[in-house]
Each structure stands twice: as structure tokens, then as C-alpha cells.
Amino acid sequence: MDIPFLTFPKGGVHPEESKALTAHLETEIMPVPAEVDILLNQHFGAPCTPLVKKKDVVREGDLIGEVEQGLGAKIHASVTGTVKNIGTAPHPISVTAPSVTIQTDPEAEPRTYEPTDWTRFSREELLARIKNAGIVGIGGAGFPTHVKLAPPPEAKVDTLILNGAECEPYLTTDHRAMLEHPDQIIEGAKIILIILGITECHVGIERNKSDAIAAMKKAVDDTPLGGFHIQVDTLKVKYPQGSEKQLIQSISGRKVPGFGLPFDVGVIVQNVGTARAIYDAVVLDKPLYEKVITISGKGIQRPANIQVRIGTRVRDIVSYLGGTTPDLAKVILGGPMMGFAISDLDVPVTKTTSGVLFLTDDEVDANAHGQCIHCGWCLDACPMGLSPNEVGVYVEAGRAGETAQFGVFECFECGCCAFVCPAKRPLVQFIRLAKRKAKK
């Protein structure tokens, strides 16, 4: 009998998964590069102020940047070596950003961490460890985790959802994490449950990762759960299944309202990778300065899942993996649906980088766009029930300021509309422009 797999009802698309390139490859550890560029502005929130100066000697794991005020997360040295420069480095979104360049000491011994019994820590101590380790949501926008795990008292959170959907094509880092370290993820989930003072946890995984589902279920069965209820839910394969609002709806049936946050409906969502980083931070007292990323696409000689130091330049990853192929057309930080195309291989890996894709001409679409033919496919594809077609026509007519009526501020830029558009219209680009011009 077919089990009905959980999913969201409205919209969504089925891009080619392209995960077979790397899904079977065990995570390998890339040797430490000669130099790293650690961006001080890695994600959502305020940029960090550097705490080191030129020629300082730093050890792997040392604090090198902190936010003075506002929302943010601490930044740590990812290698042992000497601070070569405090300047700027190419940034995937803002072109360039302030950064700390560290020249690696090739003689340095890697730092090791011993596990401690975390169950003796209070809630505040657990949160402090997460804050001190600079943990952010590594699956997406990089929201500081210590802030997310301390919702306002009036929010009645009753459910934790771990996001293992990994619905972006090509990417397999969450998949590998669930296969290789399911026990650490479950342990991380328990830490989060203690912090939130709740017992209910769901792990949502798309059914195309059946081995990961089995591994996670086994880890749940093998761990003494105490009073916790941790359940692995199989999700239908549909993009954007891993989007926060869609995932919450699929698993709990609740809808996060526009301009609202998950805790408004009693839910906190964390990526499975973040749960593992929380394990590292709390159990090992290890800051977040390493990251498993997927390097894939037909444009790289050797696709792989590799663990790299934050700040590793894409160029170094390319040479480690044997270079690019001659028909490489586009380099993307992140997935092909929502990732950022980069023009320059000197861009460094940040805490939120989930992968680097090297796509060839036959993998990307570079067709010129035409006029909207009003087929309505984008309306069917949009998981938020918006009208991307209208936004596009308004923007082209120079009336981007009037597009709030079509819900542009509810758009999270999943790209389903532009994916299905037969006229190849750059609808996400139109919507981004509309967001800048429209009034809330």
C-alpha cells in the first residue's frame, strides 16, 4: 500500500534532481589551503568587527570577529596562521565585503576537541555555548541560532522541525550528514528540545533519500530518548519542499502568516546541518569554522562532498578537485534554483554556503526572454499563491512601485515561476526589483 507522503498543497515544481553526481560519495576532508579569506559579513545581520590586526598569530578556533551591536554571530579563525591582511574579499552577493585574510602555518597541528557531558548544562549555558561558537542557520539565510532558539516568551512553541528535505537539485550535504552522522544530528535535536523546553520533534526528509531516512530512523531507535518524541517524516519530492513555510505546512498543517515567523504558529525549524553544528558547539565546544559542501555539476572534473574551512576560496577547491571542464558556463554558490552566480573564483566559502556548482552550457538556461504569453503556469507553480506574471508586466512598464498588491513581499524567491516560464522571463529578477521599489 502506498503511504501518503507529506507535502504542501499549492504550487511547486519538479526540476531534474541531478543528485546522483555526488549522493553516493562519502564526505572527504580537503587539506587546509595556503590562505583563507574570512568574510566579516557572512550572512543576515550586522557585520562583525575584526578583533585581530595584521601580523597577529591566530590559532584555529580563535575568536577573530564579533558584532558590536545588533543581530549577528561571532566569527572564528578557521586555520592556524598569521593574519596577512584586514581588507576586502569578493562576496557572493555584495560584490566585495570586509574580510580577514589568514596565511596558514603549514606546520600547525590540527586542533582536537573532547566530548563533554552536556546534560549537566543549564538552558542558559547551552545557549551561551551556541552563541560563543558562532552558530547560524547554515541551510539558508544564516539567521543567528542563539537568537532563533530564544523566541519571545509570548510565543508558545510546541514543535521542533529538523529540515532534511534538501530540495535544491545537486546538493547532497544534508543527505551525507544524515547518513554519516545521524547520531550527532539526533543529539543536536535533543539539545534544541531542552533549550526550547519542549518534547516534540519531527525530522522531514524527501523520499528520494531513502538511505538517509533509514539511517535517521535507526539513530532515533538506537538513542535513549527519555521523554522526547522524535519522529522521522517522509516528504514528497517537490521543490521547494525545504522552504520553511512549506515544510511547516507539510508536517504540521500550520500556515505561517505573511510577515510572520515560524514561532507565530508554535514551530521552530532548524536545518539538520545546523543541528549537527549545535552538537559540535555544545558537546565538543567547537566553533563553527568548518563546513561540508557539495561540489557538483558537469563543469568540475571531480564532483565531491567535501569538508572545507570557512574562508576557503572557490579557486582552491577547483584545483583540489582537478580543475574545471572546458564547457563550464556558470559557477553558482548554493543550489541552481536559489543560489548566486559568481563571476570570480576568488569568492570564499561562508557559513551558509551549501555547495558550489559548476554548470555547463547544457545544464543552464541562457535563452533570451520574450513577452508574457499569459499561460498562467507561474500562477500554478507559485507556492505562495502570488502573481509573478503581473509583477513582471508591471516592472517592464515602469510601474514596479505598484506591485505590493501582488504580494511581492511574501515572495521568498524560490524561483518556481521563472523555472516553468515558457517565455524564459526573469521573474525572480523582476520581483527583486519590485521589492526595492514597492511600498509595504
Binding site: 515544481v13 505573511g258 499563491g385 526573469p426
Partner: protein, 342 residues
């Protein structure tokens, strides 16, 4: 390091992958679905149906190229949309019209009804139907009398060069309107034999409208491909059948729904014209209402209007209401405001 390493790479806004669908693919698929009725029409009315269709398509494509040049827009004749307009225009004119008539219709369809209104995506009316409406208004005699009787001996050059008057016949709907169901049976045989021959398409009518079977197959293929949905065709056909059954006879509930659906341009209009993306609504509930309204207007024109057939004007009357339908029927937003939980 590879030699390509220092290059600057192309960037664009996400998504970087797209579905394999394109406007060209959709349009040329529709063209393909329109070919079988054309082949049938050659055996049915003779070789000149092919000639008229080619002239109409040629006129539309040439007009599109010239219009786009004149209006300083990119020339997009390869996308196949002008070819569809040309085929549809030919399919809704009688097979015995003079050859220059589709040229004129094509210019009207493409230049006036399409490009003067902004080109693909911005036309208010279905261009092919505007072409036909223009020809009916300008050359009413030819457009309402140049019918040919179906050929029964495979002599496809039979009507070439013959005068229209010598061979003209009457369409089922014309007979039905003026002589009633008794006249129809007298002319086309028993009801049961009529169902069969009308379904296959062996009856007088416009070039491409006669075969409900081939048009249905083409329409089903487009539905299977996801290019159109069933909502407009089904609601239109059902409402025509229902209203004809209720009001089409001498007394209430004595009309002939099957004859109504199998004659005139119902199948062609329902699957290939009323479903035109630009001039029909996008939401499913809107499509159902839109199709029903076309059916209602079709029956109204057929039973009470001056013309025996009403599909063309019914669709044209509904086309400009599309923007209003889009206003009335909007996609359901996920959860627009705070507090709108569950």
C-alpha cells in the same frame, strides 16, 4: 590550475535551471495538432483547402515579419504563433472562397488584432477570429455561402477552378436553423448516420472545423502535454449541449445536443481558440465560468441571432472580459496576513 581559471563567469539572477518548455515548443506542438484536420479537409473538399491554408499561413507570417519591422520590435516569426493564427484563420473560412481572401484576413489578424495592440501576450481578441469577423463583415456572401459538398470519390482536384455558385451547398447548422430537424434528416440522412459522419467530419463546413474526432484527439494531446487544461473545452461543450437540449427543440427539452456539438465550430473553438492563453483566464474556476459563458452565447446566437453559427462571436465577446476574470479570480494566497492561521 586550468587555463579557464582567470576568466570572469557569466552571472544572472536565479533560478539557473529552467524547465524544458518554451513558447516555441508549445506553439509548434499546437501546429502539429492542427495538421490532421487539414489532411482530412483535402480529402473532404479538395486540394484548395491546402492552398487556402498555405496562403493564410504565408500571409500571417509575412504580416508578422513586416509588422515587427515597422514597429521596431524583434522579429519572432520562428515562434510559430503566426503559423497557428494562419492555420486557425484558414480553418474557419469556407473552402470555396477566392484565394485572395485569406491574405486580407491574415493582414487583419496579425497587423491590426495582434501587433497594433502590443504583439504576443497583449492582444485583446483572438487574432484569427478577428480575421474571420472582418471577412464576414466585409464579404458576407462568400463567407456564408462558399460551402462545398464533401467529395466521395477521392478526386481532390474536383473543385479547383470551379465557380462557387455551381457547387455550393448548405451547412448542417444552416439547414437546422431554416428547415428544422426534419430538413436536416432529409438532407443528411438518419440521425444515427449523421452522428457517425459528423463525428468523423464528413459534412459541409469550414475547412478545419468539421472533424470533431481529429480535433478532440489534438485537444486531448494538448491536455496530456499540460499545454491546455480541460476546463474551458468541457464547460463550453457541456453548456452548449445542455442549453441546446433544453431550448433547441420545438418544445423544451427536445433539442438535439449531439448534433449541436458535432456541427459548426464547437470542437475547433473549444480546444484551439477559447483556450488561447492570451485571451482566456488563468484560474481554473475562472476557466469554467469563461467556457460556460462562451457556450451560453454560442447557443443564444445560434437560436436567436441572425447567424446559424455563434462560436466565433461568442469567443470574441468573451475575450475582452479576460482581464476582468483575472481581477475576479485570483490565486489563493498562502497566508497573506498575520493571524490568518489555518
Amino acid at each position: 590550475m586550468t587555463k579557464t581559471d582567470s576568466r570572469l563567469w557569466a552571472v544572472s539572477v536565479s533560478p539557473h535551471v529552467k524547465s524544458g518548455e518554451s513558447v516555441e515548443k508549445i506553439m509548434w506542438t499546437v501546429v502539429g495538432c492542427l495538421v490532421p484536420p487539414l489532411i482530412l479537409s483535402i480529402f473532404l473538399f479538395g486540394f484548395q483547402t491546402l492552398l487556402i491554408t498555405l496562403i493564410s499561413v504565408g500571409s500571417c507570417v509575412a504580416t508578422e515579419a513586416v509588422s515587427q519591422k515597422l514597429l521596431h520590435r524583434p522579429v519572432t516569426i520562428k515562434d510559430g504563433s503566426a503559423v497557428i493564427t494562419g492555420m486557425l484563420l484558414a480553418y474557419i473560412i469556407p473552402p470555396g472562397v477566392p484565394y485572395w481572401m485569406p491574405i486580407l484576413g491574415g493582414v487583419m489578424s496579425i497587423y491590426v488584432a495582434k501587433h497594433l495592440l502590443g504583439g504576443i501576450g497583449f492582444n485583446i481578441f483572438n487574432p484569427a477570429l478577428i480575421g474571420r469577423a472582418f471577412l464576414v463583415a466585409t464579404f458576407p456572401v462568400a463567407m456564408t455561402s462558399a460551402w462545398l459538398a464533401p467529395i466521395h470519390d477521392a478526386s481532390i482536384f474536383k473543385y479547383m477552378g470551379s465557380g462557387v455558385d455551381a457547387v455550393s451547398t448548405a451547412t448542417p447548422l444552416f439547414v437546422l436553423k431554416h428547415y428544422g430537424i426534419a430538413g436536416l434528416i432529409e438532407k443528411f440522412g438518419s440521425l444515427s448516420s449523421m452522428y457517425g459522419s459528423f463525428f468523423i467530419g464528413w459534412r459541409p463546413g469550414c475547412i478545419g472545423e468539421t472533424s470533431a474526432l481529429l480535433l478532440l484527439l489534438g485537444g486531448l494531446y494538448l491536455i496530456y502535454k499540460g499545454y491546455i487544461t480541460w476546463h474551458i473545452p468541457v464547460s463550453m461543450i457541456v453548456s452548449v449541449a445542455f442549453l441546446t437540449w433544453v431550448f433547441g427543440g420545438e418544445k423544451l427539452f427536445t433539442g438535439q445536443p449531439l448534433i449541436a456539438v458535432l456541427s459548426g465550430g464547437i470542437a475547433l473553438g473549444a480546444f484551439f481558440m477559447a483556450t488561447d492563453y492570451v485571451t482566456s483566464p488563468t484560474q481554473k474556476s475562472a476557466k469554467l465560468l469563461f467556457g460556460t459563458c462562451i457556450g451560453v452565447l454560442t447557443v443564444l446566437i445560434r437560436l436567436k441571432g441572425g447567424y446559424p453559427e455563434g462560436v466565433c462571436y461568442a469567443i470574441l465577446l468573451m475575450n475582452p472580459l479576460t482581464p476582468a476574470f483575472e481581477q475576479w479570480f485570483k490565486p489563493k494566497r498562502f497566508a497573506p496576513q498575520k493571524g490568518a492561521v489555518k
